[in-house]
């Protein structure tokens, strides 16, 4: 002590005789990632050659400092040593964050810690261990773990997430930092993502996450890959699964090599295959799936700087229930009345038309660098190539030619600056530029559903986060997006005139053909979005979140350009060139209570959407296949509101009860009709037994009860059977009755060696082989949902 005092004295002496040396430096050392205090870090004051250590709260104190610069070298076991310098001009408090690798390692190895993307939005995280259970399924299936998230399906393998009643273009999916661009406007276009790529998924209801985009009227889904740790290590994971229903099997493997220098490389591949699924009473002919995925990452990641190259490939060949191919409204009437599919064959792995064959490539490169006292700057370029082939039931040599052949290419450049040197006032700015080209191959011999187009997007945003005190965090953000679509679209002259475009858009015709017009619609959209919110910790148990967000979404290509027969729906769908953007105002309030044994999460929201674009029946057209309803995209004012509840109660250390319930309502304000495709009330009760002594054994029984949707728009219609002159009712609106299912899941983990773990899980879905139909499955007119499925999954971590 005396010696250090001497040093201090000497140091002051060097700087000047006149200076007083009575300043106090208070420091606080926190984990860079989660802000937890780091205990017992060594602080070496270089110019004083003196050591102090951080206390139980991560704090340390240096007294009797003179004016001038001090240099601190902070080290802690498992952390990168950090050197910081400050000017001492009086008493000073600084919070210093350390990159804490040991913590990270624990996260990967044990249980992923909650690492939320937003502060005040309604965000739920699905962790690795839960995602692993969905290894053989799709993204849409896994997201249903989140209360308030359901799915809109076409059959059982085309599963689209539905967040608080909204889907498709209203949901933004971020795949490893890249905004997924895969013709997501279509209701039968599932996200082309291999769930085995994700280490963690965040579901953000509403558009609170402005850095990703301003048009997420429904929500944002953020998939993050597994964390990289700076340690010389090689590890991997292999999952093998087998399933009775559909005689399916799946395999996925990931191998990661890390170096302490920060370099890393990862390879991942998956293969999934199943044949025809089975409903309790019959085979669902032509519902097979063949899915191949591959991805690789390579880069260097340090606290100060890093870069990453990422590439992923996914090919999905998806059979669509054969019985759902219809030619006329009379076919659909026969399908509804027969109560079972009109095409039932023996089990087969064959995938025939109708089917989809989709290939998605994604490549990205990013670089980041941290500037001391400023924050982190990152830049990213990404490229996506999406090819969508849809094969219809055709005749002659056109049998093997797809009816839809779309190639969508997207290039994006992003730059983002995150100013987090002051952890109490964080700022984040960014700009984005995107170019997209869609090419519809005319060799299909079918008039293009979606035209060729070029799309340009430019976005700029700023967000901020203020920690006012230990209990209150405020955040806010604004964003502006410019979007331009430049299309070349053929219209049948009859349609052009019927839509009244000859009066409003005669200036965009660039070529006149005998029956068709080539037009060049160019539209610009200016979109403003904003969000603001607060997070308040009332005490150790109670927390309240409030968030308001404004989102605007320009109409998508199908809403603008659709004009033709949609076979699987037996209807004409007409878009409108006159559409403007859709604007959503959403407020949400979240209350959570967390005690050791009892946890409650209650999320309510109100979403008012002006110029909400949706499809509704409008008229009939009499064709050679009989009368067809015409459905038009229309703009209206809509409102949605609802509540999502999660209650978890640990009855004992071994027994846990959980309930997840969700209620969503949606109305068209102009016609006072309920909105179509709003999920009915559902409640899931689960009881789980865990015993860590029996190799982490757990078993759970889950009851899923989905009510009948009583509020639906009645879009039923009558058509005349011309032969008999009778009117035939087509009930395409009435939702199916309520259903109740029971599911079982159990797993255990065995330590094979110090580094090798074997996890075995057995699950039974729909234990009682219950026949039911799902309102949110577009093939519900044709067949029941899946019957019982028993799955065995083996996972090896090494």
């Amino acid at each position: 002590m005396k010696l250090s005092a001497l040093f201090v004295t000497l140091f002051c002496f060097q700087i000047g005789f006149t200076q007083k040396c009575d300043s106090v430096f208070l420091g606080e050392i926190r984990d860079f990632h989660d802000n937890t205090p780091i205990v017992g870090a060594t602080v070496y004051i270089q110019n004083l050659n003196k050591y102090v250590a951080s206390d139980n709260n991560g704090k340390f104190k240096i007294e009797n400092l003179c004016k001038g610069q001090i240099i601190l070298v902070i080290s802690h076991i498992g952390c990168e040593t950090k050197t910081v310098s400050y000017m001492i001009e009086g008493d000073l408090f600084k919070s210093i964050s350390l990159e804490h690798h040991i913590e990270e390692l624990n996260e990967v190895a044990l249980r992923a810690k909650e690492n939320k993307t937003t502060q005040t939005a309604q965000e739920t995280i699905i962790k690795t261990d839960v995602l692993e259970r969905y290894s053989s399924l799709s993204l849409g299936d896994a997201l249903k773990e989140v209360p308030g998230v359901s799915s809109i399906n076409t059959g059982n393998t085309i599963v689209k997430p539905l967040i608080n009643g909204l889907h498709s273009s209203r949901i933004l999916i971020m795949n490893n930092g890249v905004r997924q661009q895969d013709q997501e406007w279509g209701i039968e276009h599932a996200p082309n993502i291999d769930i085995n790529n994700a280490g963690q998924i965040s579901v953000i209801k509403g558009s609170g996450a402005l850095a990703y985009g301003g048009d997420a009227v429904g929500g944002v889904v953020v998939l993050k890959p597994g964390r990289i740790i700076n340690k010389d290590t090689l590890y991997g994971r292999t999952i093998l699964g087998g399933h009775t229903n559909g005689r399916g099997y799946n395999i996925t493997s990931t191998l990661t090599k890390n170096y302490s220098s920060g370099w890393f490389a990862q390879l991942q591949a998956s293969y999934k295959r199943n044949g025809d699924f089975r409903a309790p009473d019959y085979n669902l002919t032509n519902t097979g799936l063949d899915s191949k995925g591959f991805s690789t990452r390579l880069g260097k990641r340090n606290f100060e700087s890093g870069f990453e190259f990422y590439y992923s490939y996914l090919n999905n060949e998806i059979g669509i229930l054969g019985a759902s191919h219809i030619g006329s409204v009379f076919d659909i009437e026969r399908a509804i009345n027969s109560g079972q599919p009109l095409l039932i064959e023996d089990f087969s792995y064959d995938i025939n038309a109708p089917k989809q064959d989709i290939t998605h490539h994604l490549a990205k490169a990013n670089y980041y660098r941290r500037f001391q006292g400023f924050g982190k700057v990152s830049v990213q370029y990404d490229y996506q190539y999406n090819q969508r082939l849809e094969f219809d039931v055709r005749i002659g040599d056109r049998r093997n030619i797809p009816a839809i052949d779309l190639t969508l290419q997207t290039h994006s450049l992003l730059a983002d600056a995150s100013l987090d040197s002051n952890l109490e006032r964080k700022y984040n700015f960014g700009i984005m530029g995107r170019y997209q080209n869609n090419f519809a191959d005319p060799d299909t011999g079918v008039r293009r559903l979606i035209p060729d187009y070029d799309k340009y997007d430019f976005g700029i945003y700023g967000t901020t986060e203020w920690q006012l005190n230990d209990d209150l965090i405020l955040d806010a953000g604004v964003r502006y997006d410019f979007s331009r679509i430049d299309a070349k679209k053929f219209y049948l002259i009859s349609r052009w005139e019927e839509r009244g475009y000859d009066e409003d858009f005669s200036d965009i015709i660039i070529e006149e053909l005998p029956t068709q017009l080539l037009t060049n619609p160019v539209f610009n959209y200016h979109n403003f979005s904003a969000s603001a919110g607060a997070k308040l910790d009332l005490d150790n148990y109670n927390q309240i979140l409030f968030n308001y967000s404004l989102a605007s979404r320009p109409p998508n290509p199908s809403e603008l350009f659709s004009d033709g027969l949609h076979h699987s729906a037996a209807r004409f769908e007409l878009g409108d060139l006159r559409f403007g953007k859709e604007v959503s105002n959403r407020v949400s309030l979240t209350y959570s209570y967390n005690s050791t044994r009892f946890r409650l999460l209650s999320e309510v929201f109100y979403n008012r959407i002006n110029n909400f674009i949706y499809l509704r029946p409008f008229d009939f057209v009499l064709t050679g296949r009989g009368p067809f309803p015409i459905w038009e995209y229309q703009q209206t004012d809509a409102q949605l509101y609802g509540i999502d509840l999660t209650v978890t109660y640990d009855i004992t250390d071994a027994w846990q009860f959980q309930n997840k319930s969700s209620l969503t309502k949606g109305y068209d304000k102009e016609t006072d009709l309920p909105l179509i495709d709003i999920p009915p009330f559902s409640t899931i009760n689960q009881i789980r037994y865990t015993n860590s002594k029996w190799n982490n054994f757990s078993a759970s029984l889950k009851s899923e009860w989905v009510f009948e949707q009583n509020e639906f728009p009645d879009f039923n219609f009558e058509v005349e059977d011309e032969l008999s002159g009778e009117m035939v009712l087509l009930d395409i609106s009435t939702p199916p009755p309520a259903y109740h299912l029971l599911h079982f899941y159990s797993e255990a983990t065995f330590d094979l060696s110090e580094k090798t773990k074997l996890n075995v899980s057995l699950s039974v879905n729909n234990i009682f082989d219950t026949s039911y139909r799902n309102y949110l499955n577009r093939l519900r007119f044709f067949a029941d949902e899946l019957g019982r499925n028993i799955s065995l999954q083996i996972q090896l971590n090494y």
Partner: protein, 204 residues
Amino acid sequence: MKINNQNLKNMKTTKFFVKALLCLALVTSFTSCSDDDDPAPVNEEEIITTLTLTFVNNANPLDFVVLNSFAADGLEDGMSTETITGNFTAGVTYSLSLGLLNTSENPAEDVLNGDIIPEADEHFFAYAVNGLDMTMTRDADDVPGPDGSNLGVNTTWVANSAGTGNLQIRLIHEPTSVDDSNEFGSATGGSEDFNITFTGVVIN
């Protein structure tokens, strides 16, 4: 020394990254310039624009009835116009000849002989009448259809007694099962390629 090395490394990384970005930007500009030309129009190949049923009096080839349905954009999804030329006579036997054309092609494509008959095992013509006293038989020389049935291309019709009513013809693609024991024919499953009813057909 250590710091210098670190800086050097960082510089290299930065340089490499800038280069990579430039390359990618170049690739971007190339791909975006590639398809500035106007797209080619698609003339639907699979469509049927014209359906003609010609009933010829077996005893008098100059006596015939023609039922015609025409849709410029195709019967599948365009508006169709039905015309009836001539009336049937009670007690007369007629042979029906079918014509299915795509007149949007030049020369017009014969869909019946070009596409449907070569794939007769996947197609089936079903007929029906309402308010008309007619009987119909599938001829012995009819084209074989699915599951040992007759396709329904060559048929013989008898107008039994006078009346006015409707006559329907349907083409079913990939039916699950067909039945021509009742000569008009019925089918389950599959999808209808067309379903045309001629109203106001007259038997004098």
